[in-house]
Symmetry: C2
Subunit: 342 residues, 2 copies
């Protein structure tokens, strides 16, 4: 295959970025092409759920190549990566094609969105390989173009993504670093099945819900409360906000036209269990992304007990534990023209 | 027990009323004491889910007595019935106490709200026994004071309850009689457990949800669409409206403070099943009241197939089938002082 023929490596870089879990989520864009969200959003970057991506610009490569978790990938995934590289190539004024080798340290389809860590790592690696000198804020702007939530994964700890009317003004910024407050995110895996409507398609439906305007109006309050709760390290306050926010987002999803019901029986079982355990004194709160799996946010001291309890629930296939993590970082870069090291 | 001693019966009447299933529901009151709902609501009266109530005003009875499904009942249920009788006694200018003997033809806790049929039957029977000559509209006004949805059960077929600023202006009226369109309501019973927060308590929480205002704004559209769909006998249009309306109501419940999550794993399983079957060509739509059980609205031709499929689902304990039914009616009345027939 022509796309597998190795050429001379012009330059290459490797970066890693953590996934993140949003406490105040965004659903719906004001501009789908530019991925300018309808609202701000706020998340915690995760430590062990990481994407590591090497971008190798090669002489003579006819088109971009994507190798994801050891598999050559084409189709929509490749198109999205190539389009993302196009933006950065344009910025650098080059037309080199790249071999992108990416792997996740977490299983696919397990309820941890890989697009955030993937596009954050891709942006950092590609920018470095292209010799672009971008600030973290600029990196978050470009990462956003690949995946809205990737803008947040540029930073570690607690991060807010600001929406804006223009591409260059919609960036993320850190609210507090990971050392400020160590929290855990336990992902109760209910189903590994591919969701029938992905986030990109779902975002387009947000405005068809009669509840969307109310959610938009309320997000300001939720964000302010979440920021205060994080700065004060107040898990009860943060938990109330993140649980209600997840429910309002799913309310918008369920009442859009067509209706998106991401929950499965096990989703509801875990929601009830978390509330039951909370009544027993365990500070645990749930949030749910565009899928059936449930994220349980708690303090590190309660991880073992919660993990045991979650594994005993009939619908839970697996539990993945992550903690507050650092931002995206460059692991390696070599910009002069050298032979490919592999 | 003094309350069981039989006195002379002054007058008595027996009435029956059907339960109803709301296609556009109300959640929240503008006045809790008067049960003046925040919005109009629209329902179908059910045929086989019926309450039959005899009200016997007896000489020398020290307080009202309630016998519900062969059991003498006190507490909150008796207080609510006694308070309801007080309104009608005041209207009639008497102070007689009553023995109220009531039974439902449908199981308690099976997802068919008994308060609508109970207070409709009680109102019709008590008014007749008290010699009050009330129009159906007036009966619906008084029934509403006992239970908001009881106002609708005064009428058969398709019924809308109008909210208003004053007690006497909030009445139900029929949109179409039962003969207009025969639909079926299959109740998939998921759980018979008593819900932890009943409707009366839940209504008070509606305004604490950030989504409530959006639901209030949208209900006008939903009602208009439901009315049109009923008049045109358009199940697809009606189904879209009733499914979305149930979801918006549960969205308000889930995002209220405290959050009310009435759904169980089986609720979600049935919701997904109904949508799957619809994709296979069976016109079936779900709605859910303040509990975990799911009502499936369909045409009579599809009842057998749906019943079989529902019974095969792992979470479904029972399926109850009802059709469009008639309004409340008086079965028997004897106003002169005669000995109790029992």
């Amino acid at each position: 295959m022509e796309t597998h023929r190795r050429g001379e490596t012009i330059s290459q870089a490797t970066a890693q970025a953590g996934a993140n879990i949003a406490f105040v989520k965004y659903w719906g864009n004001r501009d789908d092409a530019l991925r300018l969200p309808l609202t701000n959003s706020l998340s915690m970057t995760l430590d062990t759920a990481v994407t590591i991506t090497t971008v190798m610009f090669e002489q003579g490569l006819a088109q971009d190549v994507l190798v994801l978790n050891e598999q050559v990938v084409g189709g929509e995934a490749l198109t999205r990566v190539a389009r993302h590289l196009d933006h950065l190539r344009q910025l650098a004024g080059v037309s080199w094609r790249a071999r992108v080798i990416s792997r996740n340290t977490f299983p696919t389809g397990a309820g941890i969105a890989s697009s955030a860590s993937a596009f954050a790592a891709l942006t950092v690696a590609a920018a470095a390989a292209l010799g672009l000198s971008l600030s973290p804020r600029e990196l978050s702007v470009w990462a956003r173009l690949g995946s809205g939530s990737a803008a947040r994964s540029i930073f570690g700890g607690y991060v807010e993504l600001h929406t804006a009317a223009r591409h260059e003004d919609a960036w993320a910024h850190p609210i507090a670093p990971p050392e400020h407050w160590r929290l855990a995110d336990l992902v109760a895996v209910i189903s590994r099945e591919h969701k029938s409507v992905g986030s990109t398609g779902g975002h387009r439906l947000a405005t068809t819900s009669p509840l969307n305007v109310a959610r938009l109006a309320h997000v300001h309050t939720a964000l302010a409360q979440a920021r205060s709760a994080i700065l004060a390290r107040d898990l009860e306050m943060l938990g109330d906000v993140l649980e209600q926010d997840a429910l309002t987002m799913h309310a918008v999803m369920m009442t859009s036209q067509p209706s998106l019901l991401y929950w499965e029986p096990g989703t509801v079982a875990v929601m009830h269990a978390v509330r039951r355990w909370r009544q027993e004194g365990i500070p645990a709160y749930f949030t749910i992304d565009a899928g059936p799996n449930v994220h349980i946010i708690t303090e590190p001291a309660h991880v073992t007990a919660l993990q045991d309890r979650l594994r005993e629930l009939p619908f839970v296939q697996d539990v993945i534990v992550c903690y507050t993590g650092a931002g995206a970082r460059l692991l390696d870069v070599s910009t002069p023209t050298t032979p490919s090291p592999t």
